[in-house]
Amino acid sequence: MANADHSDHIGHAPAHHRSSLASYFAVFMTLMILTVVTVWVSRIDLGAFNTIVAMAIAILKATVVILWFMHVIHSPRLTWIVVISSFIWLAMMFVLFYADYLTRGWPLS
C-alpha cells in the first residue's frame, strides 16, 4: 500500500506505475517454486491437512498473482475494496452452503 498514496484520487494525473522487469521475473520464480512445493507436499501423507496445505499454497500463489501480475498493489483503494469484497462474497457463499450441509444430516449415508 506504500505506493497507493499518489493514485488515491480518481482521474486527473494518470500516475501509472510501471513495475520493473525484475519484479515480474521474481513473481514468476516464486510461482514456480510454489508449484514444486505443491507437488512435493502432496506426496507426504498429512491426512486431512493435505487439503489445507494445498489450498494454503494455492491462496498464496493467487495472492501473488493478484498483487503483482494484476497490479493491485499499485491500484487505487477503490480497486482494493472491489477485490477484497469479492472474496468476502465468496466466503459468504461457502459459509452458507456449509451451514446447511453440515447441520442438516448430510451426507445421508
Binding site: S42, A58, I66, T79, W89
Partner: protein
C-alpha cells in the same frame, strides 16, 4: 435560440472545450485518459469479481462432495497424470508472465515487444488447451467421460464407481469451463495482437492491454486451484 446558447455556455464555460486535440481513444464522457484508465480497470475488476463467484459455486460443490466421498476423489484423481497437469501449470504461469510483460511493453511504447509477448501468450495458451484436449481423449478412451458408464475398477464397489463418475463430472465441468475461458482469451489475444501491431497502445493508452491481462491472470488463478484439487488429491 437564446436558451441553447445559455445552456452551451453554462456547460463549457468552466472548462475549455478540448475535443479538437484530445487523444483519439479518449471517450468523450471521461475528463482525461487517467480517469478513463481507472474507470475501465475498475469495471474489469467488477467482472472478475462475478467470475470469482461463478467459479466459486463449482468449487463449493466440489468441496462438499469431496467431504462426502473422499475415497472416490482419491481414486478419481489417480486417473489424472499429475506430470501432465504440473507441466500445464508451468505453461500457464509462463503465459501469465508473457502477458504481464506485454502490459509492461505497452507502457513503454515497445510495439514489437508487446506484440511478440502477446503472440507468445497465445501460443502458450494454445499449448495448454491442446494438452487438455489430449488428456480428455485419454479419459474418454478409458471410459471416464460422465454418463458413459464404462468405468470399471475391480476393487471398486458399484457405489464407489458411481462416486468416481461424479468426480469425473466435476473434473470435466470445471476444466471445461476453464478451457472455455482460455479459448475466449485466445480470441481476445488475436484482436489485441492486431491492435498492438496497428500501434493503438502506448504509455498514455494501454488500459485495454491491462484489462486483457486481468482476464488472463484470473484464468491462471482458477487453474492454480484446479491443479491440486483435481490431480493431487
Amino acid at each position: 435560440m437564446s436558451d441553447v446558447t445559455l445552456h452551451h455556455g453554462a456547460e463549457h464555460a468552466a472548462e475549455p472545450h478540448k475535443h479538437a486535440h484530445h487523444h483519439p481513444f479518449l471517450q468523450h464522457h471521461f475528463e482525461d485518459l487517467g480517469q478513463q484508465h481507472e474507470a475501465s480497470t475498475l469495471g474489469m475488476w467488477f467482472f472478475v469479481a462475478q467470475e470469482i463467484l461463478f467459479f466459486g459455486g463449482a468449487f463449493c460443490a466440489y468441496f462438499i462432495y469431496r467431504g462426502m466421498y473422499h475415497d472416490a476423489w482419491k481414486l478419481g484423481s489417480h486417473h489424472q497424470d499429475w506430470k501432465i497437469g504440473a507441466a500445464n501449470t508451468v505453461v500457464l504461469i509462463l503465459s501469465s508472465l508473457t502477458m504481464a510483460l506485454a502490459v509492461w511493453g505497452a507502457q513503454g511504447a515497445k510495439r514489437k515487444f508487446t506484440a511478440l509477448m502477446l503472440i507468445l501468450t497465445l501460443i502458450l495458451g494454445g499449448i495448454f488447451v491442446g494438452v487438455k484436449g489430449y488428456e480428455y481423449s485419454v479419459h474418454i478412451d478409458h471410459g471416464l467421460f460422465p454418463g458413459a458408464q464404462t468405468y470399471t475398477n475391480v476393487e471398486a464397489t458399484p457405489e464407489l464407481t458411481q462416486q468416481v463418475q461424479l468426480f469425473m463430472t466435476f473434473y470435466f465441468t470445471m476444466t471445461g469451463l476453464h478451457a472455455l475461458h482460455m479459448i475466449i482469451g485466445a480470441g481476445l489475444l488475436l484482436w489485441f495482437i492486431k491492435r498492438t501491431w496497428r500501434g493503438d497502445f502506448g504509455p498514455e493508452y494501454y488500459g485495454p492491454v491491462e484489462i486483457m491481462g486481468l482476464y488472463w491472470h484470473f484464468v491462471d488463478i482458477v487453474w492454480i486451484f484446479l491443479f491440486p484439487l483435481l490431480y493431487l488429491v
